[in-house]
Protein backbone atom coordinates (compact mmCIF):
# COMPACT_ATOMS: atom_id res chain seq x y z
CA UNK A 1 0.00 0.00 0.00
CA UNK A 2 2.37 2.71 1.15
CA UNK A 3 5.14 1.00 -0.73
CA UNK A 4 4.56 2.54 -4.11
CA UNK A 5 8.10 3.20 -5.38
CA UNK A 6 8.96 6.81 -4.77
CA UNK A 7 11.16 8.30 -7.41
CA UNK A 8 11.87 11.69 -5.93
CA UNK A 9 11.69 12.89 -2.35
CA UNK A 10 11.47 16.65 -2.54
CA UNK A 11 12.37 18.48 0.66
CA UNK A 12 11.39 22.11 0.60
CA UNK A 13 9.90 24.40 3.22
CA UNK A 14 9.17 27.42 1.06
CA UNK A 15 5.70 26.86 -0.44
CA UNK A 16 6.41 28.90 -3.57
CA UNK A 17 9.69 27.15 -4.26
CA UNK A 18 7.88 23.86 -3.65
CA UNK A 19 5.16 24.68 -6.12
CA UNK A 20 7.65 25.89 -8.74
CA UNK A 21 9.81 22.82 -8.34
CA UNK A 22 6.87 20.44 -8.59
CA UNK A 23 5.63 22.35 -11.60
CA UNK A 24 9.01 22.03 -13.28
CA UNK A 25 9.36 18.33 -12.49
CA UNK A 26 5.86 17.49 -13.67
CA UNK A 27 6.03 19.61 -16.76
CA UNK A 28 9.23 17.89 -17.84
CA UNK A 29 7.70 14.55 -16.87
CA UNK A 30 10.74 13.75 -14.77
CA UNK A 31 8.86 11.60 -12.28
CA UNK A 32 5.44 10.33 -11.46
CA UNK A 33 5.90 9.58 -7.84
CA UNK A 34 7.13 12.55 -5.92
CA UNK A 35 6.99 12.56 -2.15
CA UNK A 36 7.22 15.83 -0.29
CA UNK A 37 8.68 16.70 3.08
CA UNK A 38 8.40 20.20 4.54
CA UNK A 39 11.00 20.08 7.29
CA UNK A 40 14.07 18.18 8.39
CA UNK A 41 12.29 16.00 10.91
CA UNK A 42 9.79 14.87 8.30
CA UNK A 43 12.55 13.86 5.86
CA UNK A 44 14.23 11.78 8.54
CA UNK A 45 10.90 10.09 9.39
CA UNK A 46 10.43 9.31 5.72
CA UNK A 47 13.93 8.01 5.08
CA UNK A 48 14.27 6.03 8.30
CA UNK A 49 10.62 4.94 8.40
CA UNK A 50 9.79 6.38 11.77
CA UNK A 51 6.93 8.53 13.11
CA UNK A 52 4.13 8.88 10.61
CA UNK A 53 6.18 6.91 8.08
CA UNK A 54 6.66 3.95 10.42
CA UNK A 55 4.80 1.69 8.01
CA UNK A 56 7.28 2.29 5.18
CA UNK A 57 10.09 -0.15 4.48
CA UNK A 58 13.55 1.35 4.61
CA UNK A 59 14.55 -0.65 1.51
CA UNK A 60 11.94 1.25 -0.42
CA UNK A 61 14.17 4.28 -0.59
CA UNK A 62 13.56 7.17 -2.94
CA UNK A 63 15.67 7.11 -6.11
CA UNK A 64 16.86 10.62 -5.32
CA UNK A 65 16.38 13.21 -2.59
CA UNK A 66 16.19 16.86 -3.59
CA UNK A 67 17.15 18.56 -0.35
CA UNK A 68 16.82 22.23 0.47
CA UNK A 69 19.50 23.25 2.95
CA UNK A 70 17.64 25.72 5.10
CA UNK A 71 14.89 23.78 6.79
CA UNK A 72 12.85 24.12 9.95
CA UNK A 73 13.47 21.79 12.92
CA UNK A 74 16.41 19.74 11.63
CA UNK A 75 18.48 21.63 9.09
CA UNK A 76 19.58 20.26 5.75
CA UNK A 77 23.19 19.67 6.78
CA UNK A 78 22.08 17.44 9.65
CA UNK A 79 19.62 15.58 7.45
CA UNK A 80 22.41 14.98 4.97
CA UNK A 81 24.76 13.79 7.69
CA UNK A 82 22.19 11.35 9.03
CA UNK A 83 21.54 9.90 5.59
CA UNK A 84 25.22 9.56 4.72
CA UNK A 85 26.23 8.19 8.12
CA UNK A 86 23.85 5.25 8.01
CA UNK A 87 24.98 2.28 5.91
CA UNK A 88 21.34 1.51 5.04
CA UNK A 89 20.74 4.90 3.47
CA UNK A 90 24.20 6.00 2.43
CA UNK A 91 23.70 5.06 -1.22
CA UNK A 92 20.61 7.21 -1.72
CA UNK A 93 21.67 10.04 -4.03
CA UNK A 94 21.15 13.45 -2.47
CA UNK A 95 20.99 16.57 -4.60
CA UNK A 96 21.20 19.66 -2.47
CA UNK A 97 19.33 22.79 -3.46
CA UNK A 98 21.06 25.84 -2.12
CA UNK A 99 19.93 29.40 -2.24
CA UNK A 100 23.35 30.89 -2.69
CA UNK A 101 27.00 30.26 -3.30
CA UNK A 102 27.52 31.01 0.37
CA UNK A 103 25.52 27.94 1.24
CA UNK A 104 27.37 25.86 -1.28
CA UNK A 105 30.63 26.82 0.37
CA UNK A 106 29.25 25.90 3.76
CA UNK A 107 28.27 22.55 2.35
CA UNK A 108 31.69 21.99 0.79
CA UNK A 109 33.27 22.48 4.15
CA UNK A 110 31.33 19.54 5.58
CA UNK A 111 32.37 17.07 2.87
CA UNK A 112 29.34 14.97 3.55
CA UNK A 113 29.32 13.17 0.27
CA UNK A 114 26.59 15.11 -1.43
CA UNK A 115 25.99 13.78 -4.94
CA UNK A 116 25.23 17.09 -6.65
CA UNK A 117 24.02 20.48 -5.78
CA UNK A 118 22.10 23.18 -7.52
CA UNK A 119 22.36 26.83 -6.62
CA UNK A 120 18.78 27.93 -7.11
CA UNK A 121 18.92 30.75 -9.61
CA UNK A 122 16.49 33.62 -9.46
CA UNK A 123 15.78 32.88 -13.09
CA UNK A 124 13.06 30.24 -13.15
CA UNK A 125 14.11 28.83 -16.48
CA UNK A 126 17.57 28.06 -15.24
CA UNK A 127 16.09 26.48 -12.15
CA UNK A 128 13.67 24.30 -14.10
CA UNK A 129 16.49 23.20 -16.32
CA UNK A 130 18.82 22.34 -13.47
CA UNK A 131 16.27 20.54 -11.30
CA UNK A 132 14.80 18.55 -14.18
CA UNK A 133 18.04 17.36 -15.66
CA UNK A 134 19.64 16.45 -12.35
CA UNK A 135 16.47 14.84 -11.05
CA UNK A 136 16.09 12.90 -14.27
CA UNK A 137 19.73 11.87 -14.23
CA UNK A 138 19.46 10.29 -10.83
CA UNK A 139 16.03 8.76 -11.39
CA UNK A 140 17.42 7.05 -14.48
CA UNK A 141 20.79 6.10 -13.10
CA UNK A 142 19.99 4.96 -9.63
CA UNK A 143 18.77 1.42 -10.15
CA UNK A 144 18.14 0.69 -6.49
CA UNK A 145 21.58 -0.73 -5.73
CA UNK A 146 21.77 -3.74 -3.40
CA UNK A 147 21.60 -2.47 0.11
CA UNK A 148 24.05 -3.53 2.71
CA UNK A 149 23.65 -3.62 6.47
CA UNK A 150 20.30 -5.35 6.60
Amino acid sequence: MADTPVEILLVEDNPQDLELTLHALRKRKVANHIAIARDGAEVLDFIFCTGEHADRAIENAPRVVLLDLKLPKVDGIDVLRRIKDDPRTRTIPVVVLTSSREERDVLDSYELGVNSYIVKPVDFEGFTEAVSSLGLYWVLHNHQPERSGR
Partner: protein, 492 residues
Protein backbone atom coordinates in the same frame (compact mmCIF):
# COMPACT_ATOMS: atom_id res chain seq x y z
CA UNK B 1 98.75 43.14 45.06
CA UNK B 2 100.25 46.47 46.16
CA UNK B 3 97.43 48.47 47.60
CA UNK B 4 97.74 52.23 47.77
CA UNK B 5 98.69 53.27 51.32
CA UNK B 6 95.87 54.09 53.70
CA UNK B 7 95.68 57.78 54.38
CA UNK B 8 95.33 57.87 58.15
CA UNK B 9 94.77 61.05 60.16
CA UNK B 10 96.11 60.87 63.67
CA UNK B 11 94.50 63.34 66.07
CA UNK B 12 96.76 63.43 69.11
CA UNK B 13 97.97 66.37 71.23
CA UNK B 14 100.81 64.47 72.84
CA UNK B 15 103.85 64.60 70.53
CA UNK B 16 105.37 61.60 72.24
CA UNK B 17 102.35 59.42 71.57
CA UNK B 18 102.24 60.71 68.02
CA UNK B 19 105.87 59.82 67.45
CA UNK B 20 105.29 56.39 68.91
CA UNK B 21 102.51 55.67 66.45
CA UNK B 22 104.63 56.90 63.57
CA UNK B 23 107.51 54.70 64.58
CA UNK B 24 105.40 51.62 65.19
CA UNK B 25 103.93 51.80 61.73
CA UNK B 26 107.17 52.77 60.05
CA UNK B 27 108.85 49.71 61.54
CA UNK B 28 106.02 47.31 60.96
CA UNK B 29 104.73 48.25 57.54
CA UNK B 30 106.48 51.26 56.14
CA UNK B 31 104.28 51.55 53.01
CA UNK B 32 100.93 50.66 54.55
CA UNK B 33 100.05 54.11 55.76
CA UNK B 34 100.42 57.70 54.81
CA UNK B 35 100.10 59.42 58.14
CA UNK B 36 98.71 62.89 58.77
CA UNK B 37 98.74 64.53 62.16
CA UNK B 38 96.47 67.00 63.89
CA UNK B 39 96.85 68.15 67.47
CA UNK B 40 93.24 69.18 68.25
CA UNK B 41 89.82 68.03 67.32
CA UNK B 42 89.10 71.25 65.46
CA UNK B 43 92.32 70.76 63.51
CA UNK B 44 91.43 67.20 62.75
CA UNK B 45 87.91 67.98 61.62
CA UNK B 46 89.31 70.76 59.47
CA UNK B 47 91.66 68.28 57.83
CA UNK B 48 88.73 65.91 57.24
CA UNK B 49 86.93 68.74 55.48
CA UNK B 50 89.75 68.77 52.93
CA UNK B 51 88.97 65.15 52.10
CA UNK B 52 91.14 62.24 51.07
CA UNK B 53 91.37 60.66 54.55
CA UNK B 54 90.59 56.91 54.79
CA UNK B 55 90.65 56.52 58.58
CA UNK B 56 90.82 58.54 61.76
CA UNK B 57 93.00 57.48 64.66
CA UNK B 58 91.55 59.46 67.52
CA UNK B 59 92.82 60.29 70.99
CA UNK B 60 90.02 61.07 73.40
CA UNK B 61 91.79 63.60 75.54
CA UNK B 62 92.37 66.62 73.34
CA UNK B 63 92.79 70.30 74.20
CA UNK B 64 89.40 71.17 72.72
CA UNK B 65 87.49 67.98 73.49
CA UNK B 66 87.56 65.24 76.05
CA UNK B 67 86.17 61.76 76.53
CA UNK B 68 83.29 60.22 74.69
CA UNK B 69 82.22 63.60 73.38
CA UNK B 70 85.28 63.51 71.13
CA UNK B 71 84.00 60.37 69.42
CA UNK B 72 80.51 61.78 69.13
CA UNK B 73 81.74 64.94 67.46
CA UNK B 74 84.18 63.17 65.16
CA UNK B 75 81.67 60.60 63.99
CA UNK B 76 79.23 63.40 63.20
CA UNK B 77 81.59 64.61 60.52
CA UNK B 78 79.88 64.28 57.12
CA UNK B 79 82.81 62.39 55.58
CA UNK B 80 81.74 59.38 57.69
CA UNK B 81 85.34 58.35 57.89
CA UNK B 82 85.91 55.22 60.08
CA UNK B 83 87.24 56.01 63.53
CA UNK B 84 89.60 53.96 65.68
CA UNK B 85 89.91 55.33 69.21
CA UNK B 86 93.29 55.38 70.89
CA UNK B 87 92.81 56.09 74.56
CA UNK B 88 94.85 56.16 77.65
CA UNK B 89 91.97 54.55 79.53
CA UNK B 90 91.58 50.82 79.63
CA UNK B 91 87.99 51.28 80.79
CA UNK B 92 85.53 48.86 79.34
CA UNK B 93 82.59 51.19 79.82
CA UNK B 94 84.30 53.93 77.89
CA UNK B 95 85.26 51.48 75.16
CA UNK B 96 81.69 50.28 74.84
CA UNK B 97 80.36 53.86 74.72
CA UNK B 98 82.92 54.77 72.09
CA UNK B 99 81.83 51.87 69.89
CA UNK B 100 78.19 52.85 70.39
CA UNK B 101 79.00 56.39 69.32
CA UNK B 102 80.34 55.12 66.01
CA UNK B 103 83.95 54.15 66.64
CA UNK B 104 85.01 50.99 64.80
CA UNK B 105 87.93 50.12 67.04
CA UNK B 106 89.26 50.90 70.51
CA UNK B 107 92.93 50.68 71.37
CA UNK B 108 94.46 51.31 74.81
CA UNK B 109 97.71 53.20 74.65
CA UNK B 110 100.73 51.23 75.69
CA UNK B 111 98.98 47.88 75.27
CA UNK B 112 98.96 47.38 71.54
CA UNK B 113 101.64 46.13 69.24
CA UNK B 114 102.17 47.46 65.73
CA UNK B 115 100.29 44.54 64.19
CA UNK B 116 97.17 45.20 66.25
CA UNK B 117 97.31 48.87 65.36
CA UNK B 118 97.62 48.21 61.65
CA UNK B 119 94.94 45.53 61.70
CA UNK B 120 92.44 47.62 63.69
CA UNK B 121 92.67 50.50 61.25
CA UNK B 122 92.58 48.24 58.19
CA UNK B 123 89.54 46.39 59.52
CA UNK B 124 87.77 49.63 60.34
CA UNK B 125 88.28 50.83 56.78
CA UNK B 126 87.14 47.51 55.29
CA UNK B 127 84.06 47.39 57.49
CA UNK B 128 83.15 50.87 56.45
CA UNK B 129 83.47 49.95 52.77
CA UNK B 130 81.30 46.88 53.13
CA UNK B 131 78.66 48.81 54.97
CA UNK B 132 78.62 51.49 52.36
CA UNK B 133 78.35 48.94 49.58
CA UNK B 134 75.52 47.23 51.37
CA UNK B 135 73.80 50.55 51.95
CA UNK B 136 74.06 51.36 48.25
CA UNK B 137 72.53 48.01 47.32
CA UNK B 138 69.86 48.42 49.96
CA UNK B 139 69.08 51.86 48.57
CA UNK B 140 68.66 50.38 45.11
CA UNK B 141 66.37 47.68 46.47
CA UNK B 142 64.50 50.26 48.49
CA UNK B 143 63.99 52.59 45.55
CA UNK B 144 62.82 49.87 43.19
CA UNK B 145 59.24 50.01 42.01
CA UNK B 146 59.14 46.25 42.18
CA UNK B 147 58.27 44.45 45.37
CA UNK B 148 61.53 42.84 46.47
CA UNK B 149 61.19 40.37 49.28
CA UNK B 150 63.81 38.13 50.84
CA UNK B 151 62.77 34.89 52.50
CA UNK B 152 64.51 32.15 54.34
CA UNK B 153 64.56 28.87 52.41
CA UNK B 154 61.47 27.72 54.31
CA UNK B 155 59.55 30.85 53.32
CA UNK B 156 59.85 33.20 56.28
CA UNK B 157 60.03 36.84 55.24
CA UNK B 158 63.31 38.48 56.23
CA UNK B 159 63.31 41.68 54.24
CA UNK B 160 60.69 43.76 52.57
CA UNK B 161 61.27 46.88 50.48
CA UNK B 162 59.14 49.96 49.91
CA UNK B 163 57.90 48.47 46.62
CA UNK B 164 56.57 45.51 48.59
CA UNK B 165 54.87 47.89 51.02
CA UNK B 166 53.16 49.63 48.13
CA UNK B 167 52.19 46.43 46.35
CA UNK B 168 50.98 44.37 49.28
CA UNK B 169 50.05 47.04 51.83
CA UNK B 170 52.05 45.58 54.75
CA UNK B 171 54.81 47.66 56.36
CA UNK B 172 58.18 45.99 56.66
CA UNK B 173 58.07 45.73 60.44
CA UNK B 174 54.66 44.09 60.54
CA UNK B 175 55.46 41.42 57.96
CA UNK B 176 59.10 40.56 58.74
CA UNK B 177 59.33 37.17 60.38
CA UNK B 178 55.92 36.10 59.07
CA UNK B 179 55.59 33.20 56.64
CA UNK B 180 55.26 34.28 53.02
CA UNK B 181 52.03 32.25 52.85
CA UNK B 182 50.12 35.18 54.38
CA UNK B 183 50.28 36.69 50.88
CA UNK B 184 48.84 33.64 49.16
CA UNK B 185 45.18 33.28 48.33
CA UNK B 186 44.10 29.68 49.05
CA UNK B 187 43.81 28.83 45.34
CA UNK B 188 47.52 29.25 44.64
CA UNK B 189 48.96 27.80 47.85
CA UNK B 190 49.77 24.35 46.48
CA UNK B 191 51.26 25.86 43.35
CA UNK B 192 53.50 28.12 45.37
CA UNK B 193 54.68 25.32 47.65
CA UNK B 194 55.78 23.41 44.54
CA UNK B 195 57.57 26.48 43.23
CA UNK B 196 59.40 27.05 46.52
CA UNK B 197 60.52 23.44 46.37
CA UNK B 198 61.94 23.97 42.88
CA UNK B 199 63.76 27.11 43.98
CA UNK B 200 65.17 25.30 47.01
CA UNK B 201 66.66 22.83 44.56
CA UNK B 202 68.40 25.75 42.83
CA UNK B 203 65.98 26.63 40.03
CA UNK B 204 65.20 30.22 39.10
CA UNK B 205 61.59 30.95 38.13
CA UNK B 206 61.10 33.95 35.87
CA UNK B 207 58.02 36.05 35.17
CA UNK B 208 55.64 33.62 36.71
CA UNK B 209 52.12 35.12 36.67
CA UNK B 210 50.08 34.57 39.75
CA UNK B 211 47.83 36.24 42.27
CA UNK B 212 48.54 37.62 45.75
CA UNK B 213 46.30 38.89 48.46
CA UNK B 214 46.96 42.34 49.88
CA UNK B 215 46.68 43.36 53.50
CA UNK B 216 43.23 44.77 52.80
CA UNK B 217 42.13 41.40 51.39
CA UNK B 218 42.01 42.51 47.76
CA UNK B 219 43.70 40.43 45.09
CA UNK B 220 46.48 41.67 42.86
CA UNK B 221 47.80 40.12 39.64
CA UNK B 222 51.57 39.95 39.75
CA UNK B 223 54.47 38.64 37.76
CA UNK B 224 57.06 36.98 40.00
CA UNK B 225 60.71 36.19 39.52
CA UNK B 226 61.98 33.89 42.25
CA UNK B 227 65.63 32.98 42.70
CA UNK B 228 67.68 31.15 45.27
CA UNK B 229 70.18 33.25 47.24
CA UNK B 230 73.49 31.47 47.83
CA UNK B 231 76.40 32.13 50.14
CA UNK B 232 80.02 32.11 48.95
CA UNK B 233 80.06 28.34 49.22
CA UNK B 234 77.05 28.00 46.92
CA UNK B 235 74.74 26.90 49.74
CA UNK B 236 71.20 28.20 49.38
CA UNK B 237 70.63 30.49 52.33
CA UNK B 238 67.50 32.28 51.18
CA UNK B 239 65.02 32.98 48.45
CA UNK B 240 64.47 36.32 46.80
CA UNK B 241 61.22 37.17 45.09
CA UNK B 242 60.70 40.15 42.84
CA UNK B 243 57.08 40.91 42.19
CA UNK B 244 55.57 43.32 39.70
CA UNK B 245 52.00 44.53 39.54
CA UNK B 246 50.58 43.43 36.19
CA UNK B 247 46.98 44.46 36.85
CA UNK B 248 47.19 47.28 34.34
CA UNK B 249 48.79 45.15 31.68
CA UNK B 250 46.21 42.45 32.29
CA UNK B 251 43.52 45.07 32.05
CA UNK B 252 44.98 46.27 28.73
CA UNK B 253 45.14 42.66 27.52
CA UNK B 254 41.53 42.19 28.44
CA UNK B 255 40.49 45.41 26.72
CA UNK B 256 42.30 44.25 23.60
CA UNK B 257 40.72 40.83 23.81
CA UNK B 258 37.30 42.38 24.23
CA UNK B 259 37.91 44.59 21.19
CA UNK B 260 38.94 41.58 19.11
CA UNK B 261 35.89 39.67 20.28
CA UNK B 262 33.65 42.59 19.41
CA UNK B 263 35.21 42.80 15.96
CA UNK B 264 34.76 39.09 15.46
CA UNK B 265 31.18 39.29 16.62
CA UNK B 266 30.56 42.15 14.19
CA UNK B 267 32.10 40.07 11.45
CA UNK B 268 29.93 37.09 12.29
CA UNK B 269 26.92 39.36 12.31
CA UNK B 270 27.89 40.66 8.90
CA UNK B 271 28.28 37.12 7.63
CA UNK B 272 24.90 36.22 9.04
CA UNK B 273 23.51 39.28 7.32
CA UNK B 274 25.02 38.34 3.95
CA UNK B 275 23.73 34.84 4.37
CA UNK B 276 20.20 35.92 5.04
CA UNK B 277 20.36 38.49 2.26
CA UNK B 278 21.43 35.81 -0.16
CA UNK B 279 18.88 33.34 1.03
CA UNK B 280 15.91 35.43 1.94
CA UNK B 281 16.02 38.01 -0.84
CA UNK B 282 16.46 35.50 -3.60
CA UNK B 283 13.52 33.27 -2.65
CA UNK B 284 10.82 35.91 -3.29
CA UNK B 285 12.56 36.93 -6.50
CA UNK B 286 12.45 33.34 -7.65
CA UNK B 287 8.73 33.24 -6.96
CA UNK B 288 8.14 36.49 -8.87
CA UNK B 289 10.13 35.26 -11.83
CA UNK B 290 8.81 31.70 -11.72
CA UNK B 291 5.13 32.49 -11.54
CA UNK B 292 5.41 35.25 -14.12
CA UNK B 293 7.00 32.77 -16.44
CA UNK B 294 4.30 30.17 -15.84
CA UNK B 295 1.76 32.85 -16.66
CA UNK B 296 3.55 33.68 -19.89
CA UNK B 297 4.15 30.09 -20.93
CA UNK B 298 0.89 28.49 -19.96
CA UNK B 299 -1.66 31.24 -20.06
CA UNK B 300 -0.32 33.40 -22.86
CA UNK B 301 -3.43 32.96 -24.97
CA UNK B 302 -5.59 34.39 -22.19
CA UNK B 303 -3.41 37.48 -21.81
CA UNK B 304 -3.58 40.62 -23.88
CA UNK B 305 -0.37 41.77 -25.55
CA UNK B 306 0.10 44.56 -23.01
CA UNK B 307 -0.18 42.18 -20.08
CA UNK B 308 2.49 39.94 -21.59
CA UNK B 309 4.78 42.97 -21.96
CA UNK B 310 4.25 43.90 -18.32
CA UNK B 311 5.06 40.38 -17.25
CA UNK B 312 8.25 40.55 -19.27
CA UNK B 313 9.22 43.74 -17.45
CA UNK B 314 8.45 42.12 -14.11
CA UNK B 315 10.68 39.18 -14.94
CA UNK B 316 13.52 41.35 -16.21
CA UNK B 317 13.48 43.33 -13.00
CA UNK B 318 13.33 40.29 -10.78
CA UNK B 319 16.35 38.92 -12.60
CA UNK B 320 18.15 42.23 -12.37
CA UNK B 321 17.55 42.40 -8.67
CA UNK B 322 18.83 38.83 -8.40
CA UNK B 323 21.98 39.98 -10.16
CA UNK B 324 22.33 42.94 -7.80
CA UNK B 325 22.01 40.71 -4.76
CA UNK B 326 24.57 38.27 -6.18
CA UNK B 327 27.05 41.02 -7.01
CA UNK B 328 26.66 42.66 -3.65
CA UNK B 329 27.26 39.34 -1.95
CA UNK B 330 30.33 38.69 -4.06
CA UNK B 331 31.55 42.12 -2.99
CA UNK B 332 30.97 41.45 0.68
CA UNK B 333 32.54 37.97 0.46
CA UNK B 334 35.65 39.54 -0.95
CA UNK B 335 36.22 41.52 2.23
CA UNK B 336 36.12 38.36 4.30
CA UNK B 337 37.87 35.69 2.31
CA UNK B 338 41.61 35.34 2.94
CA UNK B 339 44.05 36.58 0.33
CA UNK B 340 46.05 33.67 -1.13
CA UNK B 341 49.00 35.51 -2.66
CA UNK B 342 51.45 33.50 -4.72
CA UNK B 343 53.58 33.71 -7.83
CA UNK B 344 51.24 33.94 -10.80
CA UNK B 345 51.42 34.49 -14.53
CA UNK B 346 49.00 37.25 -15.55
CA UNK B 347 49.48 36.22 -19.18
CA UNK B 348 47.70 32.93 -18.51
CA UNK B 349 45.09 34.56 -16.33
CA UNK B 350 44.31 37.11 -19.02
CA UNK B 351 44.03 34.35 -21.63
CA UNK B 352 41.45 32.52 -19.50
CA UNK B 353 39.56 35.70 -18.75
CA UNK B 354 39.39 36.64 -22.44
CA UNK B 355 38.04 33.23 -23.29
CA UNK B 356 35.27 33.63 -20.73
CA UNK B 357 34.40 37.14 -21.84
CA UNK B 358 34.39 36.11 -25.50
CA UNK B 359 32.08 33.19 -24.72
CA UNK B 360 29.48 35.70 -23.56
CA UNK B 361 29.89 37.89 -26.65
CA UNK B 362 30.14 35.29 -29.37
CA UNK B 363 28.89 37.38 -32.28
CA UNK B 364 31.30 40.25 -31.63
CA UNK B 365 34.43 41.08 -33.55
CA UNK B 366 36.90 42.79 -31.26
CA UNK B 367 40.48 43.44 -32.18
CA UNK B 368 42.54 42.25 -29.23
CA UNK B 369 46.12 43.23 -28.49
CA UNK B 370 47.91 41.55 -25.62
CA UNK B 371 51.26 42.95 -24.63
CA UNK B 372 53.91 41.43 -22.42
CA UNK B 373 52.60 40.75 -18.91
CA UNK B 374 55.31 40.13 -16.32
CA UNK B 375 54.72 37.60 -13.53
CA UNK B 376 53.64 38.93 -10.17
CA UNK B 377 52.54 38.02 -6.65
CA UNK B 378 48.77 37.85 -6.42
CA UNK B 379 45.78 35.76 -5.48
CA UNK B 380 45.13 34.06 -8.84
CA UNK B 381 41.34 33.78 -8.49
CA UNK B 382 41.02 37.41 -7.47
CA UNK B 383 43.41 38.67 -10.15
CA UNK B 384 41.33 36.79 -12.68
CA UNK B 385 38.24 38.54 -11.32
CA UNK B 386 39.98 41.89 -11.89
CA UNK B 387 40.77 41.07 -15.52
CA UNK B 388 37.31 39.55 -16.05
CA UNK B 389 35.65 42.73 -14.87
CA UNK B 390 37.96 45.10 -16.75
CA UNK B 391 37.80 43.06 -19.97
CA UNK B 392 34.06 42.57 -19.56
CA UNK B 393 33.67 46.34 -19.34
CA UNK B 394 35.96 46.88 -22.32
CA UNK B 395 33.89 44.50 -24.44
CA UNK B 396 30.63 45.98 -23.19
CA UNK B 397 31.51 49.62 -23.80
CA UNK B 398 32.89 49.00 -27.30
CA UNK B 399 29.68 47.31 -28.38
CA UNK B 400 28.68 50.24 -30.59
CA UNK B 401 32.06 50.61 -32.25
CA UNK B 402 32.53 49.55 -35.84
CA UNK B 403 36.16 48.66 -35.16
CA UNK B 404 36.16 47.73 -31.53
CA UNK B 405 39.62 47.29 -30.11
CA UNK B 406 40.82 46.24 -26.65
CA UNK B 407 44.40 46.24 -25.46
CA UNK B 408 45.86 44.55 -22.38
CA UNK B 409 49.40 45.37 -21.37
CA UNK B 410 51.86 46.37 -18.74
CA UNK B 411 54.31 49.23 -18.45
CA UNK B 412 57.08 49.98 -16.01
CA UNK B 413 56.43 53.20 -14.16
CA UNK B 414 58.29 54.56 -11.14
CA UNK B 415 59.69 51.13 -10.30
CA UNK B 416 56.26 49.51 -10.43
CA UNK B 417 54.56 47.30 -12.96
CA UNK B 418 51.39 49.00 -14.08
CA UNK B 419 48.90 46.65 -15.75
CA UNK B 420 46.28 48.24 -17.96
CA UNK B 421 43.21 47.44 -20.04
CA UNK B 422 42.44 49.99 -22.75
CA UNK B 423 39.48 50.22 -25.11
CA UNK B 424 38.17 52.57 -27.77
CA UNK B 425 34.61 52.43 -26.49
CA UNK B 426 32.11 54.84 -24.97
CA UNK B 427 34.62 56.23 -22.48
CA UNK B 428 33.58 58.59 -19.69
CA UNK B 429 33.83 62.14 -18.52
CA UNK B 430 36.90 62.55 -16.28
CA UNK B 431 34.82 64.83 -14.03
CA UNK B 432 33.11 61.71 -12.75
CA UNK B 433 36.23 59.56 -12.54
CA UNK B 434 36.06 59.36 -8.74
CA UNK B 435 32.59 57.82 -8.95
CA UNK B 436 33.69 54.95 -11.13
CA UNK B 437 34.86 52.74 -8.30
CA UNK B 438 31.97 53.28 -5.86
CA UNK B 439 29.49 50.49 -5.20
CA UNK B 440 26.33 50.87 -7.32
CA UNK B 441 27.81 53.93 -9.02
CA UNK B 442 27.15 53.99 -12.73
CA UNK B 443 27.98 56.58 -15.36
CA UNK B 444 25.77 55.13 -18.10
CA UNK B 445 22.08 54.59 -18.43
CA UNK B 446 20.82 51.06 -17.93
CA UNK B 447 19.27 51.00 -21.42
CA UNK B 448 22.57 52.05 -22.99
CA UNK B 449 24.87 49.74 -21.10
CA UNK B 450 23.48 47.28 -18.58
CA UNK B 451 25.22 46.64 -15.28
CA UNK B 452 24.86 46.71 -11.52
CA UNK B 453 27.69 49.11 -10.68
CA UNK B 454 29.55 46.56 -8.61
CA UNK B 455 32.21 45.39 -11.07
CA UNK B 456 34.67 48.24 -10.67
CA UNK B 457 34.05 48.48 -6.94
CA UNK B 458 35.09 44.84 -6.81
CA UNK B 459 38.20 45.59 -8.86
CA UNK B 460 39.11 48.43 -6.56
CA UNK B 461 38.65 46.29 -3.48
CA UNK B 462 40.75 43.43 -4.84
CA UNK B 463 43.57 45.74 -5.91
CA UNK B 464 43.52 47.55 -2.59
CA UNK B 465 43.67 44.28 -0.67
CA UNK B 466 46.79 43.43 -2.67
CA UNK B 467 48.32 46.74 -1.57
CA UNK B 468 48.00 48.32 -5.01
CA UNK B 469 46.12 51.19 -6.66
CA UNK B 470 43.67 51.41 -9.52
CA UNK B 471 42.74 54.44 -11.60
CA UNK B 472 41.04 55.29 -14.87
CA UNK B 473 41.56 57.74 -17.71
CA UNK B 474 39.13 58.43 -20.49
CA UNK B 475 37.01 60.87 -22.45
CA UNK B 476 33.42 60.58 -23.69
CA UNK B 477 33.27 58.50 -26.87
CA UNK B 478 37.04 58.23 -26.96
CA UNK B 479 37.64 55.13 -24.95
CA UNK B 480 38.91 54.38 -21.46
CA UNK B 481 42.08 53.03 -19.89
CA UNK B 482 42.01 51.27 -16.53
CA UNK B 483 45.38 50.85 -14.84
CA UNK B 484 46.36 49.09 -11.66
CA UNK B 485 49.36 48.05 -9.61
CA UNK B 486 49.59 45.14 -7.18
CA UNK B 487 51.68 46.64 -4.41
CA UNK B 488 55.39 46.54 -3.72
CA UNK B 489 55.82 42.78 -4.20
CA UNK B 490 54.73 43.01 -7.85
CA UNK B 491 57.97 41.52 -9.10
CA UNK B 492 58.46 39.05 -6.28
Amino acid sequence: MTKPPLRVLLVEDNPGDARLVRELIADHAPHAWELFWATSLADGLGRLDDGGIDALLLDLGLPDSNGIDTVTRASAHPSGVPIVVMSGLGDETVATRALQEGARGYLVKGTFDPETLALSVARAVEQQRLEEARARLAAIVECSDDAIVANTPDGTITSWNAGAERLYGYRSEEISGKPVSVLLPPAVRDDFAAILERVRRGERIEHFETVRVRKDGSLVDISLTISPVRDDGGRIIGISTIGRDVTERKHADETLRAAIEAAEAANRELEGFSYSVSHDLRAPLRAIDGFSRILVEEHASALPQEARRYLKIIRENAQRMGQLVDDLLAFSRLGRQPLGKRHVSPAEIVRDAIEEVRAGEKDRTVELTIGELPDCQADPALLKQVFLNLLGNAFKFTRRRENASVEVGCRRDGGEDVYFVRDNGAGFDMRYADKLFGVFQRLHRQEDFEGTGVGLALVERIVRRHGGRVWAEGAPERGATFSFTLGSATNG
